[in-house]
């Protein structure tokens, strides 16, 4: 050793450093055989340096898939560009263990005129683990998103069903009133002209008109039954969960500028009904309350739920301007809205849902907050 020149000693020192570098290092000849492999790389391969002789091709150290990739992509790229960076490969150790690595390589001629390729290999076991975790989390997020989309789809379907039920219910109510009046008037006229001149023919005509009006009533009943037939199943849920779900669903559509203050007493208060439909009602009322209070300097929405005389009573109050007295009487009728670009179906829908659960919905001035207070009263064991 001491016979080495200072230059030789320096070269030896550099080789020693290279041997124990915290990365794999190899040099290949033009034919791809190993000219040199440092101890780090040999360690990863769980081989001894003697077994990695002149005849060992670098591709023999790779898994089959990596070997194919190296031959078809990496080698041509090295030939053309002279360098490659961050190529993911897998080494295969003597015991069959797979060692994922990132490869940086460059080809160049040596001082001796030999064409060599230097390989720098970085182990990426940790990185792979992180990648797997990220992939796993991504799959979980995708599953959660799919579930959320499923729930949203159900909610949309529920809203459509509610809208249809509300529409048919409102039409039935609005049309049955004039039909009742028509039938009663015709019957009264028929009675009045009893035994009058030419009454027989006129009475026949009036009776036919009555029958037609009654037939129209029957058609309305059938149309209404379409909406009634599409009612979903009922389950039991805590009122706290119901409110939380409604707040979440409103927030998903439009971020609320106000955090509703929620109070449920007793905390384990439960309600029986169709969860999606009831959440739809609460979400609609919450959104209205949030919009109403938005103009206030310190907007407030308070949701409280309690049990009163065998009923679950949920109220949603805000500190907005309240409901105009002239509108109050028609507040829950379909197709009446004080808001532009609204069809006036939302509160009518709410009433349809609440009444289908055997409950009531009403609106008063909020004594505490000064705005509107919508109250839903549901029987303890309501159902659809």
């Amino acid at each position: 050793m001491n016979s080495l020149t200072p230059e030789g000693r320096q070269r030896r020192r550099l080789l020693d450093l290279m041997d124990c570098a915290p990365m794999g290092y190899a040099v290949l000849r033009r034919d791809g055989s190993l000219h040199y492999a440092n101890r780090t790389l040999v360690g990863w391969l769980q081989a001894d340096s003697l077994s990695l002789g002149r005849d060992t091709a670098f591709t023999d150290l790779l898994t089959r898939a990596s070997r194919t990739y190296f031959d078809t992509h990496v080698r041509p790229l090295l030939t053309v560009a002279g360098t490659v960076e961050e190529i993911a490969l897998e080494l295969q150790s003597a015991t069959g263990e797979r060692v994922p690595v990132l490869l940086n390589a460059s080809s160049h001629g040596s001082e001796e005129g030999e064409h060599l390729t230097q390989l720098a290999l970085q182990r990426v076991v940790e990185r792979r683990r992180y990648e797997k975790e990220v992939l796993s989390e991504r799959r979980r997020a995708e599953d959660a998103l799919a579930q959320l989309q499923d729930v949203q789809l159900q909610l949309v379907e529920t809203m459509q069903i509610n809208a249809m039920a509300t529409l048919s219910s409102s039409l039935a109510h609005e049309l049955n009133q004039p039909l009742t009046a028509v039938v009663a008037t015709l019957a009264a006229v028929r009675h009045m002209m009893h035994n009058g001149p030419g009454s027989e023919r006129l009475q026949l005509a009036i009776a036919e008109a009555e029958q037609e009006a009654l037939r129209a009533g029957e058609i309305i009943r059938r149309v209404r039954s379409i909406g009634e037939g599409a009612v979903a199943t009922a389950t039991t849920i805590t009122v706290a969960e119901l409110i939380e779900g409604a707040i979440r669903s409103v927030g998903a559509v439009m971020p609320l500028r106000v955090s509703p203050e929620v109070s449920v007493r007793p905390a384990n208060l439960q309600v029986h009904g169709n969860v999606l439909q009831l959440q739809y009602v609460l979400a609609a009322l919450l959104q209205n309350a949030a919009e109403a209070s938005a103009a206030s300097v310190t907007p407030r929405v308070v949701v409280s739920a309690t049990e009163e005389a065998g009923e679950i009573v949920i109220s949603i109050s805000d500190n907005g301007e309240g409901v105009d007295a002239g509108v109050r009487a028609d507040l829950f009728r379909a197709f009446l809205s004080t808001k532009p670009q609204r069809r006036g179906i939302s509160l009518a829908n709410c009433r349809t849902v609440v009444e289908a659960h055997g409950g009531r919905i009403s609106e008063t001035d909020s004594a505490d907050l000064g705005g509107a207070c919508f109250t839903i009263a549901l029987p303890e064991r309501s159902g659809t």
Binding site: S169, A172, H173, N176, Q177, P178, L179, T180, A181, V182, V183, A184, T185, A187, A188, R190, H191, M192, E210, A213, L214, A216, G217, I220, R221, R224, E228, A329, D330, R333, G358
Partner: protein
């Protein structure tokens, strides 16, 4: 025989006036009320008076009016009119002491029979 007074309670003016005309033709005295509060404010009903009551009204629904009447110990027969009967509402009305139902729009004969059945 003097026929009782029929109180027609409905928020729809056309329904009130047409039913009043028809029921009047049959010899009943008729009073019309635009809603539950108007009926309740009209004073104590005679036990033989008949109430023809719409269910779906804005200020006070028919079930609430019925409850108020029975709370006042009124035994007047009450016939409820509705365009959309459902079983839950029917059983609730029966619990509160309703005497009959009519589904809008109804035939004149149905109304006549219903009135005769509750006339004392």
């Amino acid at each position: 025989m003097t026929l009782p007074t029929v109180h027609i309670v409905d928020d729809e003016p056309a329904v009130r006036s047409s039913l009043a005309m028809l029921v009047g033709c049959w010899g009943y005295d008729v009073q019309t009320h635009e809603g539950g509060p108007a009926l309740l404010d009209s004073g104590q009903l005679d036990p033989v008076d008949i109430v023809l009551l719409d269910i779906r009204m804005p200020d006070m629904n028919g079930l609430e009016v019925l409850t108020h009447l029975r709370d006042r110990a009124s035994t007047s027969p009450v016939i409820m009119m509705t365009g959309h009967p459902d079983q839950q509402m029917r059983s609730e009305a029966v619990k509160r002491g309703v005497n009959g139902f009519l589904e809008k729009p109804f035939q004149a004969d149905e109304l006549k029979i219903a009135l005769q059945q509750v006339t004392r």
